[in-house]
Amino acid sequence: MPVKILLVDDNENNLLSIEVVLQKEKYEFYRATSGREALRLLLKEEDFTLILLDVKMPIMDGYETAELIYQRDKLKNIPIIFITAHDYEEAAVFKGYRAGAVDFIRKPFNPEILRTKVAVFTELYRKNRLLSQQEEKLQLINSELVQLNRELEKRVLDRTIALEKLNIELTALNSSKDKFLSVISHDLRNPLTSLLASSAQLDRDAEKLKPEQIRMFSGIINRTSQKILNQLNELVNWAKEQREKPYFNPQKFELRKGVEESLELLKASALQKRIQLDNLVPGDIYVHADIMMFRSILQNLVTNAIKFTPEGGKNVIVSAIKKGNGVEICVKDFGVGMSEKIKDVLFDKMNSTSNVGTNSEKGTGLGLLLVRDFVVQHGGTISVESDEQAGTCFTFTLPTIEN
């Protein structure tokens, strides 16, 4: 980068002699013989390092020229050294500084002083330039950092949201595992109560019990043993199922067909209570779901619907409506319905009660929990509406997929 110096003097000889003095230092000189010409040059050429400006010039003197130069924003920072022929007084020096001068050189000038002063300002200019370049660089780096920081914050936020979501899912999963454990331990321990108490009674009072009392206790022992065996088998099956399909494997299938297949297996038990099952699902909906889980969800809900519909009662209806990226599937019965209290504790751990059906059908209380877990695994939700004596409607959502 060349060091550009503007020399302004109405006397060509003076210009020449300055050039001669400074020549060795290898500057690039621009000459102007009037204030006006100097302004023209400054506007045409850029990046002057220094201006050597003669004070005494016709038409426009050095002070006026400096004032006009410094009116321009672009030129404001170029240092000006005034060159003056006569000895000037303090007032003149003050005027010069007010006009923006950084220094003065007297004519006739001492070549060494001229060279030194020019060298000092050249050096200063170079350093200023370097500084401003570095500042620009710093600003660039800073804005990059701000941008990076913003991206990082966004990523952290996204990750935090994802983790929180996962945490909620895990907590739900954990509590449902707790629930399974508590239901299972209760369901095994409860029948043992009858078994132990009856056998203890027989053991203690064998001699004094009447035949019908012995029959009562042995009947209880027999029934209860059978019950425990059934429950153990159920538990073993459940554990086997858990092991055999540990992976969630959703696939595309037509909803109507899936519902039809699930209902097929329940027709017999519905027939026993003279209840008809209606599949009102439209034919053009495709879902993305695990077929085994889907069957389990539907069979659980429909079994419940049959259980709480009186013998010979109204039809159980399965219907579906497309909503956004999913489908709302509804299993509706017109049976005994539920009170607000039962509805509230339906999915609750502490209060879980297994309710007896209209033909005294029994349940383990595990079914609805499984249903909810399966629906949640598909990213869906399940809700229930019910009125006593009017019936119940379970609604769950599943993701759909284009054909």
């Binding site: 508590s182 331990s185 209760h186 321990r189 409860n190 029948p191 043992l192 109560t193 009858s194 078994l195 132990l196 108490a197 009856s198 203890a200 009674q201 203690r204 009392q213 009562m216 206790f217 209880i220 029934r223 209860t224 009170s339 209290k341 039962i342 504790v345 502490m350 209060n351 879980s352 009660t353 297994s354 309710n355 007896v356």
Partner: protein, 140 residues
Amino acid sequence: MHLIKYIWQNLQIHNRIIMEAQSKKIVLFDDDEDILSICSYILSEAGWEVHAFTDCNNVIERVRKIMPDVILMDNWIPDVGGIETTRQLKNDPKLKAIPVIYFSANSDIHELAASAGAETYLAKPFDLDDLQKKVNEYCL
């Protein structure tokens, strides 16, 4: 002969009245009929007047008619469960003083009994003696 029969019958009635006046009353709630039969047998043998129910509908009305000395309450009793039923009993001015023994096979029976507001609990399965001991202890 008629007279002897008459006296004998009256004596029987008289005896029953005395028995009933003396025997203490207990109400059992459990949805498992086998458990109810066994408990009824054990407690009747021990001289209790036993009333057993498989659900807790109209609980206040039914218990007020009997006014038992103690209540045995299952956790999984239909429709609303043992916790809610016990709370209803404890909110009734006439029934709240009757001790409730919470009765369940749940592992967390201690917390269940506490949150229901029951006086004590009896875990299933139970020893024959435990049942009698517990009801005698809480019947004032």
